[in-house]
């Protein structure tokens, strides 16, 4: 890398940030935060996903069509998760008439 491209610098910074976040998520798991352990771990995972998606998968630079595909993927995932959870957790609300 004699002639440094600005992209190489960006990629390296993102990589360092990802390593630090991975170390952070491992370290925090050994501290008792109660229910926040899971929330913090998932928040860090979300930040890592955004870093990989925006910079390594170049969503920051691509055009709107690609972003719509990504959002559509997550939209269908949200539909599947929310409808399935709504079913699973509301089943006990009513008891079917027994024999």
């Amino acid at each position: 890398m004699s002639q440094q491209s600005p992209l190489v610098r960006t990629y390296t910074l993102v990589f360092v940030a990802l390593l630090m976040l991975a170390a952070l998520t491992t370290g925090i798991a050994y501290i008792d935060l109660g229910p926040f352990n899971t929330i913090v771990a998932l928040a860090i995972a979300f930040i890592k996903m955004c870093l990989v998606g925006l910079f390594f998968m170049e969503l920051l630079y691509t055009h709107g069509l690609t972003r719509i595909v990504v959002l559509a993927g997550f939209f269908w995932l949200a539909l599947m998760v929310s409808f399935t959870l709504a079913d699973a957790f509301s089943r006990s609300w009513i008891s079917p008439p027994g024999p």
């Binding site: 990629y11 935060l33 996903m49 910079f55 390594f56 995932l77 959870l85």
Partner: protein
């Protein structure tokens, strides 16, 4: 799409219209590049749903059998999980650098970086299968060899721990399968680069392989906290 290409650092390099890389169904290279990129993203959107089914089931059963999931998670070796996370992040970095090398037309660097990415992928799988071996010796493999000791159950019902181990093996197994496919894909790309078939006007195949590799990395980014770090590891 020309206006989006203007000022875009990732725009395909200007080449002659008569480039041998331009397939006849496309008008120009930028269009061909956009089409292959878009195609891979549509595939990845279906992959979100593919893994999403397992994640949805995981959410429901984790809430129903939380004690078993905590016990199973604490039975996993956190060091393995963290090591695999670092290795996979490093492989994503070498992958994005190889896409960059391909874009710049640096063949030797492309080959070295692709080989490095493959090596890191194999290292990941090596740790993964070592961990599977440990689980087999601990008799924690549901259906085939499940006979956990009392301390491994940590007071949780054996069936709940077994359910967690089912999720562990299916989720990491499906992820490992994607890693194996990714390593195969990158091996093909390395051979193509070795033969000088990757040029600045057709590097989109490296780019698209990279998208797949990063997607598999993102799945692991979620699997690590969801499988290894349930309820924290401070106990």
């Amino acid at each position: 799409m020309s206006e989006s290409a203007a000022g875009n650092p990732l725009a395909a390099p200007p080449v002659h219209r008569a480039s041998p890389a331009l397939r006849h169904q496309f008008e120009e290279l930028q269009q061909q590049y956009d089409a292959s990129n878009f195609g891979m993203w549509v595939f990845l959107a279906t992959e979100i749903m593919f893994f999403g089914g397992l994640f949805t089931a995981y959410i429901i059963y984790r809430s129903m059998y939380y004690s078993g999931f905590v016990a199973g998670s604490h039975g996993l070796e956190g060091g393995f999980g963290a090591a695999m996370t670092f290795i996979l992040l490093a492989s994503s970095f070498t992958m994005v650098m190889s896409v960059h090398a391909a874009r710049e037309g640096k063949r030797a660097m492309l080959i070295v970086l692709l080989l490095l990415t493959i090596f890191l992928g194999i290292a990941f799988l090596g740790i993964k299968f070592t961990e599977y071996g440990h689980k087999w010796h601990e008799q924690m493999v549901p259906g085939l060899n499940f006979n956990p000791s009392v301390e491994e159950l940590r007071g949780a019902p054996a069936s709940a721990v077994e359910l967690f181990m089912c999720f562990y093996f299916f989720m990491t197994g499906l992820h490992a399968l994607h890693m194996i496919i990714g390593i195969g894909l990158l091996s093909v790309m390395t051979i193509l680069a070795w033969r000088g078939k990757i040029r600045r006007d057709n590097y989109d195949r490296i780019e698209v392989s990279g998208l797949y590799w990063h997607f598999v990395d993102i799945i692991w980014i979620y699997l690590f906290p969801l499988l290894y770090l349930i309820g924290g590891r401070y106990k």
